[in-house]
Symmetry: C2
Subunit: 430 residues, 2 copies
């Protein structure tokens, strides 16, 4: 059964592939300039991609923050393994070009079937299909600026004050292999394979210079019939700053001129929040509603009729008890309970199958349970007045903690968008 043309010698093949990969990177590097200069003239690989299938990549802000939320996300955190500033900048340049191309439905680099002795420039698994509003959002974690006291890239003094290390919150059970990272990449698309494809190509471009640390996929409910529901069965996202309210976004989400290189960027906090769905599903309806602070089926605040009715946090029943309990999630997360602060939530659900786990609360079941829950993304102008105080309050007081556990976490400074010819991170590294 041997094949004379291509001997089955894995050691040789692997060696050849290794060299091939190195060659591929060199080829790719050589083409960056050309690709950057002629992205428009090049024919799109996917002529079927209608304009509405595409979100712009280049611009004042990065995409994927105030972009109307896509249904799927693939999030990856990387640790940079090179200590060379030039190599890091080269990766960022590659990533920028590749992200721009993929946002337009193009392969990460042009495919050339005549170069068949080289690894293909793109895995090609989404070759014919729509980018489905793909956005790719990059962020820089605290450890990029200095790690174990070492300023590897000469940027330690430029670490923004707002890019704090997240404190430990009450109840945190963070897993090291789902936490942190030097750089974050979040791909969002209405097609999950497109999102994964994007992260996979970008990971490959950085092989040997930046390693994946953790990867997490997520999805949202079908929003065609109104606010989608999360895995708790409640409508999620009813209260969020309107994406077309520029004044609110400038106040809550975007960094202003005080931000130096972060101007027009935003700070992102990600949390992987496991939900004890088995426990939740066995909880009475009225208790679920008091935990959330809303009616389950209508989505209305407790005591109201319609989803978008304003909550009356002062209302009391005839016994003088608050209609929305003091420890209800909605009350504690509200702007009213947080000095008017809001963050832009861009939440996804996640569903990673099932594994053996011990519940945190009585009856302390130990069994195979769904590893599923909320993949929280929150964008804000400053986490010190955004996520951190809000989550401190929630972590201490929210009755929902009976059902949820924060098991993964990250904080990233997402720099401004880039203009064609420039790259993401140019304001920091340029």
């Amino acid at each position: 059964m041997s094949n004379p043309k291509r001997p089955e010698q894995p050691a040789n093949l692997a060696r050849r592939n290794f060299l091939g990969a190195a060659g591929g990177l060199a080829v790719a590097a050589a083409s960056v300039g050309a690709a950057a200069m002629a992205p428009v003239a090049e024919a799109a690989a996917n002529p079927a991609a209608a304009p509405s299938d595409k979100e712009p990549f280049w611009g004042q802000h990065q995409g994927g923050i105030v972009t109307p939320q896509q249904r799927y996300t693939c999030f990856a955190a990387f640790d940079v393994t090179t200590n060379k500033r030039d190599e890091l900048i080269e990766i960022l340049k590659h990533w920028t070009i590749a992200a721009a191309r993929m946002s337009e439905g193009r392969p990460v680099y042009p495919l050339d079937s005549t170069k068949d002795t080289e690894p293909p420039a793109d895995s090609a698994d989404v070759l014919e299909i729509s980018p489905a509003r793909l956005t790719i959002t990059f962020g820089f974690g605290p450890t990029l600026f200095s790690k174990e006291g070492v300023d590897r890239f000469g940027i330690a003094r430029r670490r923004p004050q707002a890019l704090v290390d997240l404190p430990r919150f009450n109840g945190d059970q963070l897993a090291a292999d789902k936490t942190g990272g030097d750089i974050s990449i979040q791909a969002c698309s209405d097609d999950p394979q497109v999102a994964f494809h994007a992260v996979r190509q970008l990971a490959r471009l950085a092989y040997g210079k930046a390693d994946m640390k953790w990867v997490q996929n997520g999805f949202t409910g079908d929003g065609s019939k109104g606010t989608p529901r999360n895995l708790m069965g409640f409508k999620d996202g009813t209260v969020n700053p309107p994406l077309n309210d520029h004044a609110a976004l400038n106040k809550l989400v975007w960094v202003g001129s005080e931000g130096d290189w972060m101007r027009d960027g935003s700070y992102m906090v990600v949390r992987r929040v496991r939900i004890a769905l088995e426990h939740w599903d066995r909880s009475p309806l009225d208790f679920q509603e008091q935990v959330v602070g809303r009616h389950k089926y209508s989505g209305a605040p407790l005591g109201k009729l319609n989803e978008f009715d304003a909550a009356d946090l002062d209302a009391a029943d005839s016994d003088g008890n608050p209609i929305v309990p003091d420890n209800a999630h909605m009350r504690l997360a509200s702007a009213a309970a947080n000095q008017g602060m809001q963050i832009l939530r861009r939440g996804y659900s996640y569903n990673d199958g099932a594994n053996f786990t011990a519940e945190r609360w009585p009856p302390w079941r130990q069994e195979v349970e769904f590893d599923a829950g909320l993949l929280f993304f929150g964008y804000q102008q400053d986490p010190r007045t955004g996520f951190i105080p809000i989550n401190h309050q929630l972590a201490k007081l929210d009755i929902m903690n009976q059902f949820i556990t924060h098991v993964g976490s990250g904080i990233f400074a997402c720099p401004p968008g880039a203009q064609p010819g420039s790259f993401i991170g140019a304001t920091l590294f340029g």
Copy 2:
């Protein structure tokens, strides 16, 4: 911050929930008869679900086998923990009614917001949205018939000869927590949340009587532009028995009258096949094509121009070497190389993030890599002439083994469909 109406006493609440859950099951049980008798008269919870959004549940065959493949799947394997035959039958009856209702876009049981001191009958997270062609397919594993020599349910003598224990295949690296199970449930839908919702409700109905053993989600590529591509970037599913060729399906997929209680059923093999995407992506295009036996971009068999051209397995080049290598995946999996046998493949990709792994082949990289690959489902009339001999050949000879590792596995006898008023498994347990 205490709430006088609902004291924060988790122990009490948990106790109450436990009782509540038991009560909920009793209520549900009482309603099975009525629901079975009046599924049509009841108003659909989701009036927006158009007929094309629904696949029939009741019928000669179970859905989800020759149903045109949906984009998402949620597969779960359960171990039955009760030893009582009556309780197992009760679960199957509940599951049947619930599956039929969910296939029509209804909650698993009718929701009643006036019963707010009970756990809701459905998690409600897909309340408004389309069933998106949901199918739910049940199967019985070898261990349901006898486990550790014990015939718990009086069915050991009815175990079909075709429901063999799968042999160990060359290269198998099966993880115990992703292998086997007494009962399988596969939900498929064009919406991933709908598929997960279905499995979650069914798992809940069996709480305390059947435990989840493993759960695996999958997706396929967007097929709107032709045969979708798998994560290797190749079109996958080009050669499959046509779903409208009843003669072929009766020969290859469906069990005939010789099958006793399995008549009109089918045998399913599931394999979780991790792909070393990092290794694959570094392999030259020509080698990828020789591994698969097809051209990557066109999908044509090697030496041919178009995807649906028949492969010429006898063709040789001017040196006499076969155009399709002897160890190419496509050749070894072909009907021609397997005495004309084919199985109905219903493959999905899976993407479970990333974890630390050691590659099986040189250069034996150890790093965080994508935990992604193929979630193989194959249906056949008899695994002894279907999956087993085909996979023995692949496991020994397929050059693709350099990139893939089978890490999870299961075999299940999927009984015939049910008629309204009956239940899945009635031919075995009735």
